[in-house]
Symmetry: C2
Subunit: 430 residues, 2 copies
């Protein structure tokens, strides 16, 4: 049964993603109509710079007054692709107050204010969908909150930032240093002029917070996510990783504690074995491993960013939200009933790869080994290399709480035979 | 808002999958209640052998009369994990006639009668969900029909049968022949006593038909799927594949024709480059590549079979169908509006790897090359090996319609310098 009155869509933002959304809504209008059961009409496009020429978009639809567009009374669904906290937050709230369901690609906002926005949507009986906020085109939010709704997710580990994966992949394949690889990523458009949000892990941490909430049916705020960027990763670290049969990736890792009573969420660079499927994720691709009790290990892989891939995710949500509108129903909202607390990084159980510059004299290894033992950290392997009176010691630990591992490192720094800690990197995926 | 009256579930079949479904429904009852918004109660279990002890299942719930269970008037949702065509088909139809939504894991039935079952569900305003019918726990049906609902899928290529992947992986890694690898798969429980459905590609063809329908929004019947099994794949084929930097996988490949006016669906063994992500799918795992216009290349990976993984998919569907019941709505039904015809195998554009036993005398290569040219097939590489008056010629073609390629092979067989066609294998994934 096909309805002929169209559902009206307000597009908030018309940059790289928004213009692709508008283009596909126009070129694939017949398909969208069939799949939804009613036509969807682009009824208004709110932008900051109205003078910019936007190919394929009727200039009559363009406005600088997003609030007025939402308040005019005929909009069914708003697509928010502005990004950032404000004005996006206020606009989404305004939309809900006017009976408008929302599709958003805004990871920063969802990570910071997801709970309040979900509550507002639920209060008004409306949808808030955001598949595009995490890992671009890769279906991840819907599979995790719908396909795995009858399962218990215990662990999520993934590469959720394309820019940093591009940089790390270049460093791995060419031996380049961080700055050189970043320069190439910037020249090719993979990194922004100010790459801070990517390289310091803020972008990945926002996605980690969103995914952790969905995975564990609890609330995980951005501040709950431990975060380390990858600007300190060096060519020497990659050389060390290679000696171990590993590469280095910036990982988002979300885990349920062994006792099931708490969860952890973290973003940091880590060595992973070359045999791990995440090791072979190249260039700016994203991939996420999900381990669930019944399903086992699943992996989702694809382009994590870009106008068209992100638009694909937005439009998938648009179809779902439009179908819900027609059925006068809503999709799954926030599920935070477990109320599991988020433990600090010190409680995370992991392994360290530590490179020490040490004095080349007898007894150093014994002193170092004693320090590990005093902190309850068991050593997996040690490799000693000496030349010209200098020596280096590479220690890989067994699994231990991060607090014990970092405490060990602090104690090692104080040993007079240890001249410096050359690098510390966690080891994951084994 | 939590409803306290439970939704009542009839479980039809209690084998490997059904018993896992029942177990999880019991052990994770609180989680399911929270995620659905109402409790779900296992209200009856229909089995063939009531005397069999089923741990964790109240014997009072067990019946041999599935029809009576569906007709008794209090069932909201039926889970069909019997498999095969009958009695599953009649029971699902009975369920719809009594206002019962259905979750099914039955690939054979969906591939054969999906259209009629979808029509029956729609007629009664009910749901028919079947994530578990394709690739076990891997979310694939929902991502394709919901996450990618705003995109245009052009190609799906995947490993959708775990048994054959296990056998081919063994042949590849150990150099074993087909029979030896099959025997190992049987001993380890990866292959059934009668492996025909797996090794002849019937199981993969059923999944291919289901996926093709979803991918292209058209109807693809089981008979529309070209099917070749993998019982003829030899150790020599793997040796040839290795020389080309390839391995051999049994692939399901669904493609939209270049002009967009038709589709093709096929299952056959093929060489794929080791660099292709599907090449590294080991043991009984499944993985499916989806190429969409806006999203680009996505991959979904995970366990393709087994009691618990399949139960995970069933329970994800159960949560969705239960939520729909509470909202008095239904999820997306069949989408077949494009009505794209399915072209025969001869129209598929592919590449052949052909090994010929030829006479070791001058002019043979010229004669063979002429035959290819006469059929409009362009040669990519030729490798000649001669010893003791015998010679072999390995030809890899460029892309050409399968009809032209198979026509070439027929003509080659008739050349008096060609003593035999040792093997033919398609080459994909480049």
């Amino acid at each position: 049964m096909m309805r002929t009155r169209p559902l009206k869509v307000a597009l908030l933002g018309c940059g790289v993603v928004g213009s692709e959304v508008a283009r596909i809504m126009t070129t694939h209008a017949d398909d969208l109509t069939q799949r939804i059961g009613a036509p969807v009409e682009l009824a208004g496009v709110a932008v900051r710079r109205p003078s910019k020429v936007r190919e394929g978009i009727d200039p009559e639809l363009v406005t600088t007054d997003a609030t007025a567009l939402l308040k005019r009374g005929d909009i069914d669904i708003a697509i928010e692709v502005i990004g950032g906290i404000e004005p996006a937050r206020t606009l989404i709230t305004t939309a809900f107050e006017h009976g408008i369901s929302v599709v958003s690609a805004n990871k920063a906002l969802l990570a910071q204010d997801g709970a309040a926005l979900h509550a507002a949507a639920e209060q008004h009986g409306l949808d808030l969908y955001y598949e595009a906020a995490v890992a671009g085109a890769i279906p991840l939010v819907r599979p995790m909150r719908e396909s795995l709704a009858g399962d218990k997710i215990n662990r999520v580990m993934g590469i959720v930032n394309g820019t940093t994966n591009f940089i790390l992949d270049k460093m791995d394949s060419t031996g380049a240093g961080y700055q050189e690889a970043l320069d190439e990523a910037t020249a090719l458009g993979y990194a922004e002029a100010d790459p801070t949000a990517d390289v310091e892990g803020y972008d990945a941490a926002a996605k980690a917070a969103i995914l952790a909430g969905i995975a564990f049916h609890t609330r995980v705020r951005l501040d709950d996510v431990y975060r380390e960027g990858m600007t300190e990763v060096s060519a020497a670290d990659f050389a060390s990783a290679k000696r171990m049969g590993c590469t280095i990736k910036l990982l988002a890792i979300l885990e349920r504690a062994a006792d099931g009573e708490s969860v952890t969420a973290r973003v940091h660079p880590a060595m992973i074995p070359l045999s791990h499927p995440l090791a072979s994720v190249r260039e700016a691709y994203n991939a996420v491993f999900v381990e669930a009790e019944a399903a086992g290990r699943l992996m989702f892989y694809g382009p994590g960013a870009g106008g068209a891939p992100t638009a694909s995710a937005v439009l998938g949500d648009l179809v779902a939200v439009a179908r819900n509108k027609l059925a006068e129903a809503t999709g799954p909202g926030e599920s935070a009933y477990t109320q599991l607390p988020v433990s600090p990084m010190g409680d995370v159980v992991t392994r360290y790869h530590i490179s020490l510059d040490v004095a080349d004299k007898p007894g150093v290894l014994a002193q170092v080994a004693t320090t590990f033992a005093e902190h309850g950290v068991s050593i997996d392997t040690v490799r000693q290399q000496g030349k010209d009176g200098e020596a280096s010691l590479v220690v890989v630990t067994h699994r231990a709480p991060d607090a014990a591992l970092s405490g060990t490192v602090e104690a090692l720094r104080k040993l007079d035979t240890v001249r410096g800690v050359a690098s510390i990197m966690r080891v994951e995926g084994e």
